[in-house]
């Protein structure tokens, strides 16, 4: 046996993988070759070093396994029956269970168990009761339970325990559902500590909370100052390195610092600098200051009442306030997610067609709507507001490349008699092509009398 042939066999021997027939030959060579004996010792040494080095990694693997097991057990939806018709057609109906499981109870549920050494049975410690869950997020959210020193990725639907710290990354916004029914919305680069389900401390960044009927309020703390709504309120807290700001959109909120207490009303903000309150709240544009929360509301669903209300408030300020372009910018920033509230607004104001904001809403929809809103745009061609019809036609041309023989401008100036043929063509075209488009709406009612 040559030394060059020995290396692999030495390693195999260290790993207990050397075949018996090779072992004798190797031993004979080692008896006569001191360099190979030295090599064997070096291999044994590096093997021992690696085994020692990987002990913590093995423990991490065990913890990973147990956290995954806990997550599987946390599934509350019973598995559905399996439909079997041949081995290849075997179906495993975990859909609803997995919808609840989502991206994982895997990690966050497991975090209710303190990390245990391998020798401790994982089932011996009862899990901590969660006080909140991560409802949804637009990016990476991390959590550090009270019992840990490290942050972990917090998956959607993951339970959050008492005194846990939750933080969002630079591109992530999220909603945290508290166990009592309240919801917190966090902006990017925000960190909060959930002391209790009713007590939340903002460490940095921006938080939004709005009171819900029938629910107890949440005490929000910033720089040690408790912030409590006196009456149903919508508020945001903006916590920066040297100061915090409380912005009240609606309702009245009390802020306390030692003996000093200040009430802040709607459209006002109050600064907290190093734990000390300004004497007097200042006026602010609360809607623009808290515009970041619109995208969080849109994550929940585009037709949720809170988002619709905020969209209507933004619309109402366009043309009515200084810098109204900023309000329009915020609506455009929502993109397609902002279309349902805008369409809802247009539908709700159809009986008052001359309201100025309707044209703005239609203009934004025309510019940002995706193809699933084609049917709604066709429906707007019969709106009594000429500008709404114009923008609807523009939007349809952008999305389909068609104008059905009538330029968009004509919808603003021509009579219904002139527009009706084109409208009928749109209806016919939609009936023929609607299956090619993802759509939230399929039917378009034909007007029974001239709409304009």
């Amino acid at each position: 046996m040559r030394c060059e042939d020995v290396l692999n066999r030495l390693n195999a021997r260290a790993d207990g993988e050397l075949r018996a027939e090779d072992a004798a030959e190797l031993d004979a060579h080692l008896a006569e070759c001191s360099p190979c004996r030295a090599e064997a010792e070096a291999i044994d040494a590096i093997d021992a070093d690696l085994r020692r080095e990987f002990l913590p990694r093995r423990e991490a693997a065990v913890r990973l396994a147990e956290s995954a097991v806990v997550a599987v057990r946390a599934t509350t939806v019973a598995p559905l029956a399996v439909a079997m018709s041949g081995a290849s057609a075997r179906r495993f109906a975990w859909g609803p269970a997995l919808a609840g499981l989502a991206a994982g109870f895997l990690l966050a549920v497991a975090l209710f168990r303190p990390w245990q050494p391998w020798s401790v049975a994982p089932d011996s410690a009862p899990p901590l009761a969660p006080i909140a869950r991560l409802a949804f997020a637009s990016g990476r959210v991390e959590m550090r339970p009270a019992s840990r020193i490290e942050f972990f990725t917090c998956p959607t639907n993951a339970p959050i325990g008492r005194d846990a710290i939750v933080r969002t990354g630079p591109a992530a916004r999220c909603e945290i559902a508290l166990e009592d029914g309240n919801a917190l919305r966090l902006d990017c680069n925000t960190e909060v500590t959930l002391h209790e389900s009713e007590v939340v401390e903002v460490n940095r960044g921006r938080l939004w909370w709005s009171s819900q009927p029938g629910l107890k309020g949440v005490e929000i703390q910033a720089y040690g100052c408790p912030i409590v709504a006196i009456e149903p309120a919508e508020l945001a807290v903006d916590c920066q390195p040297h100061e915090a700001r409380l912005i009240v959109v609606d309702g009245t909120v009390n802020v306390q610092s030692g003996e000093k207490s200040v009430e802040v009303g709607p459209g006002k903000q109050l600064r907290i600098v190093q734990g000390k309150l300004d004497d007097t709240p200042q006026a602010c544009d609360a809607l623009l200051e808290t515009a970041w929360v619109n995208s969080v509301l849109a994550l929940r669903s585009s037709d949720n009442p809170e988002l619709i209300e905020r969209v209507e408030q933004l619309l109402a300020n366009i043309g009515a306030a200084k810098l109204s372009l900023l309000y329009e910018d915020e609506l455009r920033r929502l993109g397609d997610a902002g279309v349902p509230p805008l369409l809802a607004y247009l539908a709700s104001t159809r009986e008052t067609p001359s309201v100025a904001q309707r044209a703005t809403a239609a203009r934004i929809v025309a510019d940002v709507a995706e193809s699933r809103w084609i049917a709604d745009l066709i429906a707007l061609l019969t709106d009594a507001n000429a500008d709404v019809r114009l923008h609807a036609a523009r939007g349809l041309e952008r999305l389909t490349g068609r104008d059905q023989g009538l330029a968009a401008q004509a919808w603003q100036t021509a009579s219904w008699a002139s527009c009706e043929p084109a409208h009928q063509k749109w209806l016919d075209w939609w009936a023929e092509n609607r299956d090619h488009y993802p759509t939230a709406r399929r039917d378009i009612p034909a007007p029974t009398s001239p709409p304009f």
């Binding site: 290396l7 692999n8 030495l10 390693n11 195999a12 790993d15 993988e17 070096a42 291999i43 590096i46 093997d47 070093d49 690696l50 085994r51 080095e53 990987f54 990694r57 093995r58 991490a60 693997a61 065990v62 990973l64 396994a65 147990e66 956290s67 995954a68 097991v69 997550a71 599987v72 057990r73 599934t75 019973a78 598995p79 559905l80 029956a81 399996v82 081995a87 290849s88 075997r90 179906r91 495993f92 109906a93 975990w94 997995l98 499981l101 991206a103 994982g104 895997l106 990690l107 490290e150 972990f152 990725t153």
Partner: protein, 185 residues
Amino acid sequence: MSSDSDLVGLAQGGQLTAYEELVRRWSARVLAVCHGKVRSSHLAEELAQESLLRGLRALATLENPAKFGPWLCGIARRVCLDWLKSGQARQVSLDAMSNGQADAWVAQAGDSPDEAAARVDDHQRLLAEVELLPEAYREVILLYYYEDVTYRDVATTLGVSAATVNARLTKARAMLRQRLSGLRR
């Protein structure tokens, strides 16, 4: 002890405890696969968790229950590749610093071996050096040392022969010894 095939059948029939057992059996392997791909132990844990969840979601699609382990490792590789392709791969170099992987990052930053050695202690250095190995050698070291496995186990996971595993472990250990002795001088 039930085979993987039996457990997969039970899990597909709705028994959560069966999937739990599969998770216990394969977590270390999945973690080793992820660690080999992304070269960060902390990130590997996160991606391994995601992989185990995806395995649960996709269990209905597994047509050969006996191949659960390699199938799950395949999912783990895809999870890691997706992550590497995403924009987050660049961010991890910064995360790695805060997660205690500073030695690996520093070693890649062009420091001399002495400078890198000055920053980390021996305990961290070996794992850092493993993470710096070329992928074929890094994978085999991680798979071999994350749990008690045989050459055949590693070979099945990697899709190579046991002899190849032997050869790669031999080479990997030699590279590590050379690297560590160079740092100590």
